[in-house]
């Protein structure tokens, strides 16, 4: 597994160039403005679903980024990251109850710190065990820890509440700004604030000597050892800190949903962290943010439309692993030098040309999956299959022929167009290289 880590180079975080800074500011403005795009003026209220989804995306951003502190930056594959997320959530649920009855009088705005502290403490305990090893042994220890904790959460009623989980009320009447947190929009802005704080925090961690040493230990732990650093200690600190941020994410989860169950500690959520980080791109700091947003939208949005959404996640994931191991962010970064040279325009036509067959291919695939799953599962559930607002009769051959045709034609055409695209891309990069060599 060590070769694996070695083969994924970590792009050096850029000097905070003005473009980058502006990108971050734009993201923040977007996060603040987004709920208002879905504001229902007729009924004078926010779209609760959209706010929930954005809130979920916010906590998942923290969660995925903190996971990437292990996977991307330290080359550690962990299967128990949700344990810290969930534990932070449980602690905050108890803290909320404590705050409303006066035994734990801290204001709502500081609750995420309590969750973070809980995550940190737990990560110190488990990290002490797990980080003695690296690579696969580390991964397997974390797998064991994850299973143990998820089952413990089901078994021990007092702290974890068993299957029903623990509930609390976030209207604790303790706020620095006099907010009641009755409406989810208030919670959303709390989440935006803490997400921003955590993102900034994690970004600056990558710039510290610790972050650099984590990269070094990932890339070549023996050499790092010779330089005089103990990779175990580096791994341990990195693990503990990632637990801190995961706990903060869990705290926001507890505040948003006011319930924490064992699911928030269990394997599927840990797996989600991996998916989000990888799809977004582990080599770029901001990558997991993209992944977190995409996966949340798929999970909450697309699952409303199709029960086969897991297939789409699976296919998307496999496509990414096979063709784009750098993730979404990696692709965007690859366009950086071309943009700088002002040659982005040359790519416009080739992009359109591969978009068309790509569209047909995806359309054929989606149609086929939906047709098949409709035939075996959906029909008896009393649903109607609707594409583009038209009901489809699956008994006739036409939709099947269209779907399969789309798949085949799109596939072949895409292959052809991708060769053309590749030629253009290579030309441009070669040109850039020549230009670079000249200067």
């Amino acid at each position: 597994m060590s070769d694996a880590a070695r083969s994924i180079p970590m792009a050096t975080p850029r000097r905070a160039g003005s473009a980058m800074t502006w990108l971050w500011v734009l993201g923040l403005v977007l996060a603040i403005a987004l709920p208002w795009c879905f504001y229902d003026f007729a009924k004078a209220r926010h779209s609760g679903f959209m706010i929930s989804m954005f809130s979920q995306a916010g906590m998942m951003i923290i969660f995925a980024l903190s996971y990437n502190m292990l996977m991307g930056q330290a080359g550690l594959l962990s299967f128990c990251h949700a344990v810290f997320f969930g534990f932070g959530g449980y602690v905050v649920i108890h803290a909320l109850t404590g705050a409303s009855n006066g035994s734990f009088p801290i204001p709502m705005e500081l609750m995420p710190l309590a969750g973070g502290l809980a995550g940190l403490i737990l990560a110190i305990i488990f990290g002490y065990m797990a980080t003695k090893q690296r690579a696969t042994a580390f991964a397997m220890i974390t797998l064991g820890i994850g299973e143990l904790m998820a089952t413990a959460a089901l078994m021990f009623q007092h702290f974890f509440g068993g299957e029903g989980g623990i509930t609390s009320d976030r209207m604790i009447d303790r706020s620095l700004f006099g907010l009641s947190y009755a409406q989810s929009i208030e919670v959303y802005y709390l989440i935006v604030f803490w997400t921003m704080v955590s993102v900034i925090g994690m970004y600056f961690l990558t710039q510290t000597p610790l972050g650099r040493m984590a990269n070094a230990c990932r890339d070549n732990f023996e050499r790092a050892q010779f330089v005089g650093y103990d990779p175990k200690i580096v791994r341990f600190i990195q693990f503990a800190l990632s637990g801190l941020f995961a706990g903060m994410g869990g705290a926001l989860y507890a505040i948003a949903y006011e319930i924490v169950t064992f699911d928030s500690m269990a394997g599927p959520l840990s797996a989600n962290a991996l998916l989000m980080a990888y799809i977004g791109g582990t080599t770029v700091f901001g990558g997991p943010i993209l992944g977190a947003v995409l996966i949340t939208v798929l999970q909450s949005g697309v699952s409303l439309l199709s029960n086969s959404w897991l297939v789409y996640v699976g296919v998307l994931f496999i496509t990414m692993v096979t063709f784009v191991p750098e993730g979404l962010a990696g692709i965007i970064m690859a366009h950086g030098p071309i943009r700088k040279a002002g040659k982005l325009g040359k790519l416009a036509v080739p992009y359109v040309r591969i978009l068309v067959p790509g569209f047909i291919l995806v359309l054929g695939f989606v149609a086929l999956v939906e047709l098949v799953s409709f035939q075996t599962i959906g029909a008896a559930q009393g649903k109607k299959l609707v594409l583009f607002g038209n009901p489809i009769d699956i008994a006739s051959n036409i939709p099947w022929a269209v779907a399969i045709g789309g798949l085949i034609i799109g596939g072949i055409w895409l292959r052809f167009e991708s060769i053309v695209f590749g030629r253009v891309w290579d030309e441009i990069t070669a040109e850039l290289k020549r230009a670079e060599a000249r200067t």
Partner: protein, 315 residues
């Protein structure tokens, strides 16, 4: 005495069932370094295929055909999937198999529906083999023991006594050298992966009617197989075998010796009854935490010996 003997037998059968699942994985894991998350999915496909084949041709053809089909599926996955990802490292390979899990699960539901399959033990294996202290020992359990023992023997012979086994072992450690000697290393990898998947398919054929053939069966088998492989140690079939038996025994005996932590202290002092988290932990009976013991054991052994029980190299 009676209960111990019966439990030993039960533990052995369960251990062998685990071994059947784990042997294919240990092969893939130790030869290719790929943590194949889709292993349990292949096992599920094996069970469904076995059901389909046995419906038309009977159980014995299924016993042969289904593993071959699973092997073919495995070969296809390796050639068109894993091989392309290989240069991105083991994590990428692991993630690739991870994505497969989602697709296989929904795919199985889309093809065979949500209901469990009526895949049953064939009538000629459905009789009590012998009676031990008044309880029957079903013939199918004996058949399972036989198949898994045969599997162990066959793999061992293949790896240690044949030329193919030599090449496989060499390709593991010195791929470039083996390649220069004129052997097709990618082909060897495909073969190993296909073989591992075939073994998973065989486990599906045997386990599908012994357990239940349904779309959540892969989930249920899940990580316990990893535990066995890692506990036994990479690159060691014998370690995998011993680990399987140990895990089988532990879980069987945890049920039989139903003590709590509080009970263990009882000769020394009386543990007071407490309505707190601590009280809960002290009074949980062994049988309830039995299935967790393998994970605890795995963590322990990795802490002191990262290469596992009989592993030849660090995991």
């Amino acid at each position: 005495m009676e209960i111990i003997l019966v439990s030993l037998l039960n533990g052995l059968v369960y251990g062998m069932l685990l071994f059947m699942l784990a042997s294919g994985l240990t092969l893939i894991f130790s030869m290719m370094g790929v943590l194949n998350f889709a292993h349990a999915s292949i096992y599920m496909i094996g069970a469904y295929l076995a059901f389909e084949v046995s419906r038309w041709f009977g159980f014995l053809p299924a016993l042969i055909l289904a593993p071959i089909l699973c092997g073919a599926i495995g070969a296809a996955i390796e050639i068109w999937g894993l091989r392309r990802v290989h240069h991105n490292g083991h994590i990428a390979e692991l993630l690739f198999t991870f994505g497969l899990v989602f697709i296989v699960q929904r795919g199985v539901q889309m093809i065979w529906g949500m209901l469990p399959m009526p895949y049953r033990v064939p009538s000629y294996l459905d009789f009590p083999l012998f009676t031990l202290y008044g309880a029957n020992f079903p013939a199918y359990r004996g058949f399972m023991l036989l198949i898994s023992a045969g599997m162990l023997l066959a793999i061992w012979l293949l790896l240690k006594k044949t030329r193919v086994g030599l090449i496989i072992q060499a390709a593991l450690t010195h791929p470039n050298m083996v390649s220069s000697l004129g052997h097709n290393v990618p082909m060897v990898f495909t073969g190993v992966f296909a073989g591992g998947c075939g073994l998973a398919g065989l486990a599906g054929v045997i386990g599908g009617n012994y357990l239940t053939t349904e779309s959540s069966m892969a989930d249920a088998m899940g990580p316990i197989v990893f535990v066995v492989v890692v506990f036994g140690g990479l690159g060691s079939l014998a370690g995998c075998f011993i680990a399987s038996i140990i895990m089988g025994m532990i879980q069987t005996f945890a049920v039989v010796f139903d003590y709590t932590i509080a009970d263990m202290f009882s000769p020394l002092f009386k543990v007071p009854e407490m309505d707190t988290l601590l009280g809960e932990i002290l009074t949980v009976p062994m049988s309830r935490i039995g299935p967790l013991l393998p994970y605890a054991l795995m963590i322990l052994i990795l802490l002191v010996r990262p290469r596992g029980l009989l592993g030849t190299r660090d995991t």
